[in-house]
Symmetry: C2
Subunit: 207 residues, 2 copies
């Protein structure tokens, strides 16, 4: 094991340490209340040190962002075994919402937060998101193919389904349903998923 290799490994370990610490602090204190200084303090380094491992704060957030997409895509893959695309579509919606609700900080970073998307566009790094999108897209395409959904533009239909689940998740995460008690929101959420899949899927049922 050469010294260079070890150096490189240590660098990666340090990056991971920073990211993991940032993540923990984000989850605890909220993303906006975590400064570079707090991250540095938590790992007993000086603030300046962070900048030897990350260009700026955005790059740390971007790293967490990527981890989030790994997680989500892994979940999506677990549905590949479901053969009926209609059932797979429904399950994918449930799974998406579940992911959002159980990983609010991740989800916020991935799909809501400002300043993250710009970073991705610069780096042309939307592979992570693209894979997730394609997973949904092929399912929607199969649904159309088998006549479960009306024959329209595949991307339009995919975007509609994505928008539907993202919309509900983001309204909840960003406190736009805060006037309702939590249990009620959960109830409505469940009902909304059922509503859409009942209505959208029912065309073929009635044929």
């Amino acid at each position: 094991m050469s010294t260079d290799e070890r150096k490189e490994r240590e660098k990666q370990e340090m990056r991971q340490l920073i990211v993991r610490t940032a993540m923990k602090l984000f989850a605890g204190d909220g993303i906006d209340n975590v400064s570079i200084r707090k991250i540095a303090e938590a790992i007993d380094y000086s603030p300046g040190s962070i900048y030897s491992y990350f260009k700026d704060k955005g790059e740390i957030i971007h790293a967490i962002h990527n981890e989030g997409f790994e997680k989500l895509f892994a979940l999506q893959q677990s549905l590949d075994s479901i053969k009926d695309p209609r059932e797979r579509l429904a399950k994918m919606g449930e799974l998406y919402i579940k992911f959002a609700m159980e990983n609010k900080d991740y989800y916020d970073l991935m799909f809501i937060a400002k300043g993250v998307a710009e970073k991705i566009q610069e780096k042309k790094e939307w592979d992570a998101g693209q894979r997730s999108y394609n997973s949904l897209r092929t399912t929607v395409a199969e649904c159309i193919e088998k006549g479960y959904l009306k024959d329209t533009d595949i991307d339009a239909a995919t975007f509609a389904m994505w928008g539907f689940v993202h919309g509900m998740a983001s309204l909840i995460i960003r406190g736009r349903c805060a006037m309702m008690p939590d249990e009620v929101v959960q109830q409505i959420l469940k009902g909304s998923l059922k509503f859409i899949y009942d209505n959208v899927g029912s065309i073929t049922n009635n044929k």
Copy 2:
């Protein structure tokens, strides 16, 4: 006209001046790049002066937030003349998306931005939003009543429709479709609206 009355009027004018200036700067430089100092400079006052008229920055944002809801609700009311609830629902979706796309800053403040919802909850001031929500809710209720939508929980169905349009709008506004050219996004958006209303409304058509 008493002096007190004039004083009060001047205070309101000053508040309006601040809000309007803030709004203009938001639209031009982006919400995050507008500081209290910049607003103060734009109206030739010192930063401290702002705090004689607003408790904090959040209160300025909250004022703009309210204006946004006035605007949106006024638009929604223009659809009251449409008798067929199915058509009204579709038009309301189009209108909502149109509002979001043409007033991205307003929309962001109203439905996406952080720290705004908390303020509303404190002040119990969700009337503005509630009126808009109810407008959608009664339309959905009519659709269910007339059999255009499957009979489910009204709030679940309403939340689903809201989530659908909000989801697409917020994904676009927060740059999650930035990998696609603008015209394509607009095309997909149009297709998605059609997709949902075709599928959801078609139950009765096929009966």
